[in-house]
């Protein structure tokens, strides 16, 4: 149940086994179905999630029904609607599992408590933020001013499994191109 989480933490920070055990006690398992929502737009996000199996997707819906995928967390990754989680304001986004998933969930208060009391956990949180920021920046200037073919090549280089794991439709909404164009572009590779 907690192996993957333990591996995640201990590979990133040196931590006593007792601290690790204590951390586990705050994470409770959650099973979800395909397309089940963890958070709806307008709700305030109260949990941080760790993916044992499956995949979390975070997305927004614009007027007209078009959706934009913002972030995917796969096995061994953390994910939440961070702006809402941090600032405790209504989320501007949806969070769902796009396939049957096994998650570990921690409440916000517990998460912040751990970040303050267990230095290794605080360090992990800082690292998540740093990496998230770096990834977001890479994405901005990896996409900015590039055409469809270059975007697809970019995502293949930086997230090799990505196109294999998610549907064309979602991949397209992540890349900011239409499903038709993604389909045509892949045919050219």
């Amino acid at each position: 149940m907690y192996e993957l989480l333990g591996k995640y933490i201990s590979s990133r920070a040196s931590i006593a086994a007792s601290d690790l055990e204590q951390i586990y006690t705050y994470f409770s398992p959650v099973s979800t179905k395909r397309n089940e929502h963890l958070l709806l737009s307008g709700e305030v996000c109260q949990h941080y999630y760790f993916v044992n199996k499956g995949c979390i997707r975070i997305y927004t819906i614009h007027e007209g029904g078009r959706d934009t995928s913002r972030f995917f967390a796969f096995e061994g990754g953390f994910g939440t609607a961070l702006p809402s989680f941090i600032e405790q304001v209504p989320a501007a986004e949806y969070m769902q599992t796009i396939e049957r998933s096994e998650l570990l969930r921690i409440r916000r208060a517990d998460f912040l408590h751990l970040a303050e009391t267990i230095p290794a956990f605080g360090f992990i949180y800082r690292q998540i933020l740093e990496q998230g920021f770096i990834m977001a920046q890479k994405r901005i200037y990896g996409f900015q001013g590039f055409d469809a073919l270059e975007k697809v090549k970019w995502v293949i280089r930086h997230q090799p499994d990505f196109l294999l794991r998610v549907s064309n439709k979602m991949a397209a909404s992540y890349l900011g191109i239409s499903p038709s164009t993604l389909s045509r572009t892949k045919a050219k590779l």
Copy 2:
């Protein structure tokens, strides 16, 4: 010299005057000219900067000479080439002051030292990361799939001073549109 920095910190975290004084001792003033570089692509970033006056711009240059502006820090803001600063790898970006500027600079080792020894400073750093991440996310899905007019409206709503402070050319490279299109778009507002 340190008023603005002091205001920045004490408005975000409760901190003892003595700690604040200690923090100041690590920041040294730097004066720069218009278009002076603080970091070149390929160098490893060793400093974090605070802007007392002027403006820092972070940008990349692609093949063909086109540049993409990634981030601007104005008066009262922090800025650095974070991926390089964090991971101590050669930067993929340039950092420059786009106008005559007065900066406060802290060395990386000192910055991390403060973040670890003064809780309020560690908290500030975490907040910078959180806000940076949130901003980057907003930018991704504020731009994704929007046309030029919507992007311009977005930036006016979220960073009202932005278009007034930076040149058309830089604003365009930030928005991911051509200077011509930005010019035409502004005429429609």
